[in-house]
Symmetry: C3
Subunit: 339 residues, 3 copies
């Protein structure tokens, strides 16, 4: 494989890439899934190091990125920046410039995961990743931050296309709906889904209880994407109405904006969310849809976000989407880092 046009590119949000660039990655991901251990792929990162910085822990993201590096012939280092003293406003330490420049000498790329709990205000995590990307001469991949989760968004698209057996999602209705739950989720997966799927021409319905608005800037972008793609966009505050005619239902808990103001009180968020027991994706609601797919970035909070019957039902593509994380990440790494 010759060096890709995407070589050297960061991936922080799918919105930063052109549709052509995203399609290039999705195409390679599909090929890689079909021929997973083919020789043409297993030495693309031969003997190269990918650095993974997990400010926040993760199971699936860590497993899939580390496996991606292994399958490309490279090695992913699992790093928890606890022992790393970065300079902050109030304490001495290393600058991001110094850290990023040295890592650029050791590695072919780096991934960073930083979410609520490790940041002071909403946006700080995304900002930190962008600072790393600014200073590093190697590609920086967002492995989930407080705003975006590009590899999840790509895996979602790949999963829907497989299930519909068509690359065109145009005109299909996506219901992106809040679910109650006991795990107080970040906004990144949901916002990334809205951003990428609105660009691909899906009709977008977002539904959540009053008080659970997402990032207004992101929502403006989603609305603009829909306008550009000639598709529809609506926000509902109803736990049932949005299901009508949906082709895909993405039910997922997320925190209220209050959680991002002045320190996250996770317990309070959970108690608040658990009051909305009507907000669950169950069989009776799915019956209103156009035989919709069920999609979710996992881990699934069964019995809260979604019923067992739907999550394990024939239209659920949650395991396929989770598997696709591996393939899209391999494709992103191959194209941005492969020599």
């Amino acid at each position: 494989m010759a060096k890709s046009e995407l070589y050297g590119k960061d991936l922080i949000c799918t919105q930063d890439w052109s549709l052509e660039e995203l399609e290039q990655v999705l195409k390679l991901a599909r090929q890689m899934k079909a021929s997973r251990f083919s020789d043409q792929y297993t030495s693309l990162l031969r003997h190269r190091t990918f650095l993974m910085f997990f400010y926040n822990p993760s199971v699936r993201t860590r497993q899939s990125f580390e496996a991606a590096a292994t399958e490309l012939g490279g090695h992913a280092q699992f790093l928890e920046p606890g022992g790393m003293r970065l300079r902050t406003k109030s304490s001495a330490g290393e600058t991001i410039e110094d850290a990023a420049r040295v890592m650029s000498r050791y590695a072919c790329g780096m991934g960073i995961r930083i979410l609520e709990g490790k940041i002071e205000a909403y946006g700080d995590g995304d900002e930190l990743i962008r600072q790393y990307a600014e200073q590093a001469s190697i590609p920086v991949i967002n492995m989930a931050d407080d705003k975006f989760h590009p590899c999840q968004g790509l895996a979602d698209v790949m999963g829907m296309r497989e299930a519909f057996d068509t690359d065109s999602l145009k005109g299909k209705k996506l219901l992106q709906i809040w679910g109650h739950g006991a795990l107080a989720r970040a906004w990144c997966s949901v916002q990334e889904s809205l951003l990428i799927n609105s660009r691909l021409g899906m009709d977008i319905t977002v539904a959540y209880p009053r008080g659970y608005d997402l990032d207004p800037q992101v929502m403006d972008q989603v609305r603009a994407n829909c306008t550009a793609a000639g598709s529809t966009f609506e926000i509902l505050n109803d736990s049932r109405a949005g299901y009508e005619g949906a082709d895909v239902v993405y039910s997922r808990n997320w925190m209220s904006p209050v959680a991002y103001q002045g320190g996250l009180n996770r317990q309070e968020e959970i108690e608040k969310a658990m009051q909305y027991r009507d907000w669950i994706c169950d069989e009776s609601r799915m019956d209103l849809t156009n035989d919709a797919l069920f999609i979710h970035p996992m881990p699934v909070d069964r019995g809260h976000e979604v019923s067992d019957g739907v999550a394990s039902g024939p239209r659920s593509i949650i395991y396929d989407v989770a598997e696709n994380r591996l393939h899209v990440q391999k494709a992103v790494m191959a194209q941005t880092m492969g020599e």
Copy 2:
């Protein structure tokens, strides 16, 4: 190497496998030891991922499993499930079904280690591993649980066969004896040794102070194994008598059953054990044996479980057995996971 008949099989306890299956692994382990880095073995797990879940920490088990994956051309991910929210009776989280099914998409196999301290009652650890095995479509290897430690058992057998220079352990006397000590050990290595060696026809003597009974169900199985193999089985509560005529002495501390009831008080267990100062494998006792081998799963608590002279003496095979962990694990992984 063609795909083995063992392909896809879990290994949770050696008792779950037929003797023919165990011999198949032991034969390959011996070959792998003789030609450790031979090309015929170094790509059996080429670019494959083995997931290691360490609920409890470990030095030797981690090193040997991770090295095993490396030597087979694959990569073992070291995972500590601290950041993983599994659903429990009392808290929300991911189901084992969801976790295991996704991991089956990323990896060629997984290993789990879970012992006292991370479980509520004796048997919970083994049960968790069996639930993973039930849900996963990839092989699950027990890397030590509260009941069993199959790879240790296999390494023990391999070590004794090497030292005796014969594959037949039939009719040799194994003294499995409790030692005092300050480390409050689990039952898994000792129970696995009794299970596998009784099936191989060794005459079994178990010796421990009153109050240190092992799992009665396991002991019934050991007794049944001896009957089936036509060998002898006895339990003694004497620190010396069992040495008479022994061909192998396996001296090792283990906790009393009380430790598994209602929360482990490690300090209390240690204080209780340290009173039995007579229970040590030393030169005077070894003189009563049939020039017995000394065997131990390590780490050795020298001066308590065994004297320095015996542990470092000419009949001690502790380092060889520890090395064999690597080879049997490579053989198990190659046969259950190698394409």
Copy 3:
């Protein structure tokens, strides 16, 4: 590559090796830098395991050693000995003999990092590493201890030679100067620099405030090295005088000897150090030099140890030296561990 004469050798301090041996490693490091992923190097540790014991955390050392193993075709295991019960004077546990002998069966080499905070008295860390080296049959590499940091010293030399475009550092003046700072650094990098550069014939000036003496035994060795090499050695207690005519300035904070006596109080050390605001390597001081290089083992405490202008200036070689860590470590591992 045939097995090197260095095969099997430990590297605990550069002073333990002959100059010829050090030059052999430096020569290979330069070749490896020039042809980083050449086939002649990428299978030197093929499928081999290198064990890294981090008693103390580290970013650069971990990244560079793990990448080094990957680039040589092997794998480095990242181990934090928290879960490892080594025997101490006051508690039961495994002996170093037992631990080291088993590891020698699994791995081709091991690295150990142990500094203040994990030791009781100055010298204990270096002593522990030497005990491991004594018992292990595989090479033991010091990844920084309380006294020495050999790979940093080698990387420093490589960086200066590159910048001066000559292998001969003889007669060049090295100013090794204390800087104030908020990070309370260990002595190892500074002492290693003094030891290796004095042997290579550099004229040595050490400068620090009264009360910041380094290890007197090491200083005696440095003085002896200078005598043997026919170069000069002086100690100054002035923050400015030493810059006069310097060819290389190495400004770095280090703790006072008090910190090593009776338990480290890091906060107290920092407060004491922060009073010496004159002790900073800045442009006005660098103007006094012979257009000196600026060198530092990183992480840099900018604004304290050195001004931004110097650290990011045209004569700063900090990133090159950091990169060289990778190359010298690859060369050391290849020559001491490569079959």
